[in-house]
């Protein structure tokens, strides 16, 4: 198989583009896809300070690497989730990357700062672990960005992540979540802008990027995620993709182009009802925000503010 760009020997086939690439041309392809996503959706503006949510996995480390290569002012944020060896290994991967690139990594350890770990907190709150983890991440990423004076939180959601979330939302016709499923969620009072610069790149491409760039990421899956619904959606979509390359991209970008504008009003209406949470000050539409409820049910506490 030959590289589409330089005709040298290829190392990776990207079937949805009906193309294969050598290592150098593949890295160029990844940078161009991120550059295009950032430009087309006006994700990062001149002078913006970016906080990259870093888990130690392939997507977030590749994203951080790509944004630094594209000369963005991008620091990393690592959240310690309290998931035993998995958290230890993922934290090591994030720190090693930051040290290797000479980049700044902000660290927040949930067990030591909030008094609970995700597995115990989820059990105490009777939530599935991925749900407790997701809401904690959304809250704490935003908190750290606002407190640290960052304009933008960038997450490593890739094309496969977004297509799987879309499938889940469509299967349940969750118009509220569909309205929020955007590559960019604008900032506002108490909110940093949230952006997903990897939406034009698939999960397999991100893993290949790390292998080719020599980025040492945590390959093992989070033990809490095993058998979850999101993985089931990804497997179902990959069965379709195998038969019909390009299906995932057509599904996601067709939604963003043609359906998202129709359901966006639902999300805007929800934003109009936002007010500061009495517990932590973060914006919420509920009486108390979901993260404060989780902290309370898990028997945790908020860190003392200096």
């Amino acid at each position: 198989m030959k590289c589409r760009r330089c005709r040298g020997p290829a190392v990776l086939e990207v079937r949805r583009h009906n193309a294969a690439f050598c290592a150098d041309c593949f890295l160029h392809h990844c940078r161009e896809q991120v550059r295009r996503a950032v430009h087309d959706h006006d994700m990062i503006r001149p002078g913006d300070r970016v906080l990259v949510a870093v888990s130690g996995g392939k997507d977030s480390l590749a994203l951080w690497d790509l944004l630094l290569d594209l000369d963005y002012d991008a620091d990393g944020l690592y959240l310690g989730l309290g998931i035993g060896d998995y958290s230890d290994h993922s934290g090591q991967a994030a720190k090693a990357f930051a040290a290797g690139r000479g980049a700044r990594l902000v660290e927040v350890d949930i067990p030591s700062e909030y008094g609970f770990g995700i597995p115990d907190g989820a059990a105490a709150a009777r939530r599935v672990p991925c749900s407790a983890c997701g809401l904690s991440k959304r809250h704490l990423f935003n908190r750290a960005a606002v407190d640290g004076g960052y304009d933008v939180v960038a997450t490593g959601h890739n094309l496969d992540d977004e297509a799987a979330v879309l499938l889940g939302n469509v299967l349940r016709w969750s118009t509220e979540y569909l309205g929020r499923q955007q590559p960019v969620l604008e900032g506002g009072a108490g909110f940093a802008r949230k952006v997903k610069p990897l939406i034009r790149l698939g999960e397999r491409e991100m893993a290949a990027y790390c292998v080719l760039e020599g980025i040492d990421y945590i390959v093992e899956e989070c033990p809490m995620a095993e058998g979850n619904r999101h993985l089931g959606y990804k497997n179902a979509l990959n069965e379709i993709e195998e038969q019909s390359p390009g299906s995932k991209a057509a599904f996601l970008f067709g939604f963003l182009d043609r359906v998202a504008p129709l359901v966006q009003r639902t999300a805007e209406e929800e934003r109009e009802g936002l007010h500061p949470c009495p517990g932590c000050g973060s914006p919420t539409v509920s009486e108390v925000c979901a993260f404060c409820k989780l902290v309370d049910r898990a028997g945790g506490h908020h860190p003392a503010r200096s």
Binding site: M1, A10, V11, L12, E13, R15, A20, A23, G57, K58, D59, C130, S131, C133, G134, K137, H157, D160, D161, V165, G202, E203, R204, M206, A207, A208, V211, L212, V219, E220, E221, C222, M224, A225, N228, H230, L231, K234, N235, N238, E239, E241, E242
Partner: protein, 66 residues
């Protein structure tokens, strides 16, 4: 050839020569969900793997919180 699989981590022995695509079929793995690495280099579906090769089939799907 010796083939390293993950989640859980284990090794299996598969006779070569064999194309990458045929290896994945034999292991009943979806091409979209893995990378194939020979030594420390990525290889495409049409590459032929030999008996002496050390091969890793690395899953790329990650799930959990979004």
């Amino acid at each position: 050839m010796r083939v390293l699989l993950r989640n859980p981590r284990r090794e299996v022995e598969v006779p070569g020569p064999l194309r990458v695509g045929a290896l994945l079929e034999r292991l009943e793995l979806n091409r979209e969900s893995v990378l194939v690495i020979r030594g420390d280099t990525l290889v495409t579906d049409d590459a032929v793997l030999e008996d002496a090769d050390h091969v890793e089939v690395r899953p790329v799907i990650s799930g959990g919180a979004t």
